[in-house]
């Protein structure tokens, strides 16, 4: 089965081709069936590979598909790697991907671009699978760029809206900034090691000076910053919510944005060697977690809240990566994929019921009308809040325990970020599902629970969000930590936890107490006092206004980067482009024209003249040849 790993990305590719070429001629149900079927087939193959690979003695299998690039000394085979990390991600991508595909068949049902949507979605899954399966940095980069492209296409899916197109462009350009770092990192790897295959590079990593490794690690991290929306390249992710909600769930919460985490776990060898790079990752991670969480507090768009929450959770994952808790971060990627996909799909269900309304100030009291959505979203919220027993509790706790071991200061900020998360998530829940309805009468009349194709994925994800934590029970409970054991062979330096059991219990206690306090706090503010967020245009108090406007980061980037760039380009346009380049191009044309206008006088159209000229020329040539 492992030899057939090529099938995993092949199915979505076939789905993409069929839907891409014939989608418009097919019925919507057939088009949806092909797209879902492709992902389901991928999922089944992934599952079989996962189960088989677990029992093999050697943890990493390389499957060579074909020789890709052969030029001089450069030889890059097209190889897939089957190891605990890649198979784990395969399951997440195809599993969650399948649920979201099913959900989309219903969510996008009335959209004119139905088959186009599934074309992009299948293409996305294909590239994402390529990203995690590739056995060298170049295949990873191809996947990396491919998912970026699909992200762009899907954010701008409703391309008639200029704002959406701008959001798509913003995402694409911000990602390019990160990709440049990633590309430079790959080039540096090739120059240093003479190869870009994972196994060769990581085997030789110990032989190179630490400063080179640090440079590589930091360049790769710049790539991760772009893709995984870390400070300073995070602003594209909240804007990416312009895309259809299933896209936000699949691409901008569950899978693509975790590509940065995957990449760093994959190259954990570098980060284990370079303490500087790890420290940078940790600090950027915690800063992002806290920063985004504070912005999330005052947002009113249901999807934007979830987007900032995603940025914040990604920050938490990077914090975990920075302190060397690689398997904990992968664990959090997994649980986050469950509950964040659930929350986004739930939000989609709410938006669907509210006929497109996304502002939580105009919702309220929806729990009666949308019981399934309400219950599943509540479970997702409890999971993200870290309520004991649910998946988010275990993964977040594991990361924070490792962070505490590394540095209590970082732990404090991480803790603060997760407390804020609890608050704004319950703010969202209370404002959306409790209280009185604040929308229009028409919307109230239309309120309805979503069809089964939408609620079943919600229920499955809710179950996963609840029980997902079982794969990573804390080690000090003397329970088998499945995910940590699973990824163990890939992690280079894994120091056993030196924390005392009492300390771990204490940390867990603090986390639980903090979560419940924040829930209670949110309850007081939004249930008892019935506080409502201020309306658009109302005057906000000082600091709140700054946060509501997202710390003016967009405006800052606009003023510091975009405006000067515009100014420079207009200078270049006027002087270099108009003056020099156009001057040269038009000068060549004009001089040819000028010479032509003189020479054309010779061509007077008289045949005798031509004949005489020809004769005399021949005589001249002959004389010339014989005499000289």
């Amino acid at each position: 089965m492992i030899k057939l790993v090529g099938l995993v990305p092949l199915f979505p590719l076939i789905g993409f081709l069929i839907n891409g070429f014939f989608g418009k001629k097919m019925s919507k149900s057939l088009s949806g069936l092909i797209a879902c079927g492709a992902i389901l087939a991928s999922f089944v193959v992934s599952l079989l590979i996962f189960l088989e690979a677990r029992h093999l003695p050697e943890h990493s299998q390389i499957v060579n598909l074909f020789s890709w690039i052969n030029a001089g000394s450069l030889s890059i085979p097209f190889e897939f790697v089957v190891d605990p990390l890649s198979t784990w991600f395969l399951l997440i991508i195809t599993g969650i991907g399948f649920l979201i595909h099913v959900y989309s068949t219903s969510y996008m049902h009335d959209d004119a671009g139905f088959s186009r949507f599934f074309t992009y979605l299948n293409l996305f899954v294909f590239f994402m699978l390529l990203l995690v399966l590739g056995n060298n940095f170049l295949i990873m980069f191809v996947g990396w760029e491919g998912v970026g492209l699909c992200s762009y296409l899907l954010i701008g899916f409703w391309f008639k809206n200029t704002d959406y197109n701008n959001a798509a462009r913003k995402a694409f350009i911000m990602n390019r900034v990160g990709d440049l770092g990633f590309l430079l990192g790959i080039i540096l790897i090739f120059v240093t090691f003479g190869s870009i295959s994972f196994n060769e590079v990581f085997a030789k990593a110990g032989t190179v000076s630490e400063s080179t490794i640090t440079a590589i690690a930091l360049l790769l991290f710049i790539g991760a910053m772009g893709k995984s929306a870390q400070i300073p390249l995070y602003t594209w992710l909240p804007d990416a919510m312009a895309g259809p909600t299933p896209v936000s769930a699949l691409i901008h919460a569950a899978t693509m944005v975790t590509a940065g985490v995957y990449m760093i776990v994959r190259s954990n060898v570098f980060y284990s060697i370079s303490d500087v790079a790890s420290e940078v990752v940790a600090i950027v991670g915690v800063a992002t977690a806290l920063f985004a969480a504070t912005i999330g507090l005052f947002q009113n768009d249901i999807k934007k809240i979830l987007a900032y929450s995603t940025v914040s959770q990604l920050g938490l994952m990077f914090l975990g990566l920075g302190v060397g808790a690689y398997s904990s971060s992968v664990f959090h990627v997994t649980t986050h994929a469950f509950f964040k996909a659930l929350l986004f799909l739930g939000a989609g269900s709410v938006i669907h019921a509210m006929s497109g309304e996304q502002d939580i100030r105009k919702m309220g009291g929806l729990k009666g009308a949308l019981p399934k959505t309400f219950l599943t979203m509540l479970l997702g919220t409890l999971a993200i809040s870290g309520v004991p027993g649910l998946s988010g509790f275990f993964s977040k706790d594991e990361i924070l325990a490792h962070v505490y071991e590394h540095s209590p200061v970082l732990w404090f900020f991480g803790m603060l970020a997760s407390m804020l998360t609890v608050f704004y998530m319950f703010r969202l829940m209370f404002l959306t599902f409790w209280g009185g309805f604040r929308g229009t009468k028409e919307q109230h009349h239309h309120l309805h629970e979503s069809p089964a194709a939408m609620t079943i994925p919600l229920i499955v994800l809710a179950i996963l969000s609840v029980v997902g934590g079982l794969i990573g029970l804390p080690e000090f409970w003397h329970m088998p930590n499945f995910i940590s054991n699973h990824l163990d062979p890939l992690i280079l330096r894994k120091s056993p936890s030196t924390l005392k059991h009492e300390t771990e219990w204490m940390l867990m206690g603090i986390a639980v107490a903090a979560a419940f306090t924040m829930i209670y706090f949110a309850y007081i503010v939004y249930r008892q006092k019935q506080t409502l967020p201020l309306k658009e245009g109302d005057k906000l108090p000082g600091l709140q206004k700054v946060i509501y406007n997202k710390y003016y980061v967009d405006e800052f980037y606009n003023a510091v980067i975009t405006k000067p760039l515009d100014a420079i380009s207009s200078v270049f346009y006027k002087f270099i482009d108009k003056g020099i380049i156009d001057g040269i191009v038009e000068g060549v044309g004009n001089s040819v024209k000028g010479i032509g206008s003189v020479v054309k006088l010779v061509q007077q159209g008289n045949i005798s003249f031509y004949l005489i000229t020809m004769m005399l020329s021949i005589v001249f040539i002959l004389l010339f040849t014989f005499l000289i």
Partner: protein, 103 residues
């Protein structure tokens, strides 16, 4: 010596023919005359080829002449067709009238 006549006379004759042809091409305006002058030039060359072929007792020159004649025949066919088309269009075969491409 060919049949008692020096090769110089043959060269002289073909040179005279060639020059007559060349001057005709340059000086006349009647297309058919120009055409005939071209043939004259070709045949002047043919004469030279045949003469030297006989002089050196080498048949290659005569073979070459056959080729020239064959190509000349083809050229005449095409050339006369062009001339008749010119006549149909301009009602004349004066080359000075053929200046439509100018400007």
């Amino acid at each position: 010596m060919i049949n008692g006549i020096s090769i110089n006379y043959y060269i002289l004759l073909s040179a005279i023919l060639f020059i007559i042809g060349a001057i005709g091409v340059m000086a006349r305006r009647n297309s058919i005359i120009i055409f005939m002058c071209i043939e004259l030039m070709l045949n002047a060359v043919n004469l030279l080829l045949v003469s030297f072929s006989t002089l050196h007792n080498d048949p290659k020159g005569q073979v070459f002449v056959f080729f020239v004649m064959a190509v000349a025949a083809a050229e005449v066919a095409v050339g006369l067709a062009i001339l008749s088309m010119i006549y149909r269009n301009v009602k004349s075969i004066d080359t000075d009238l053929l200046s439509n491409l100018k400007n």
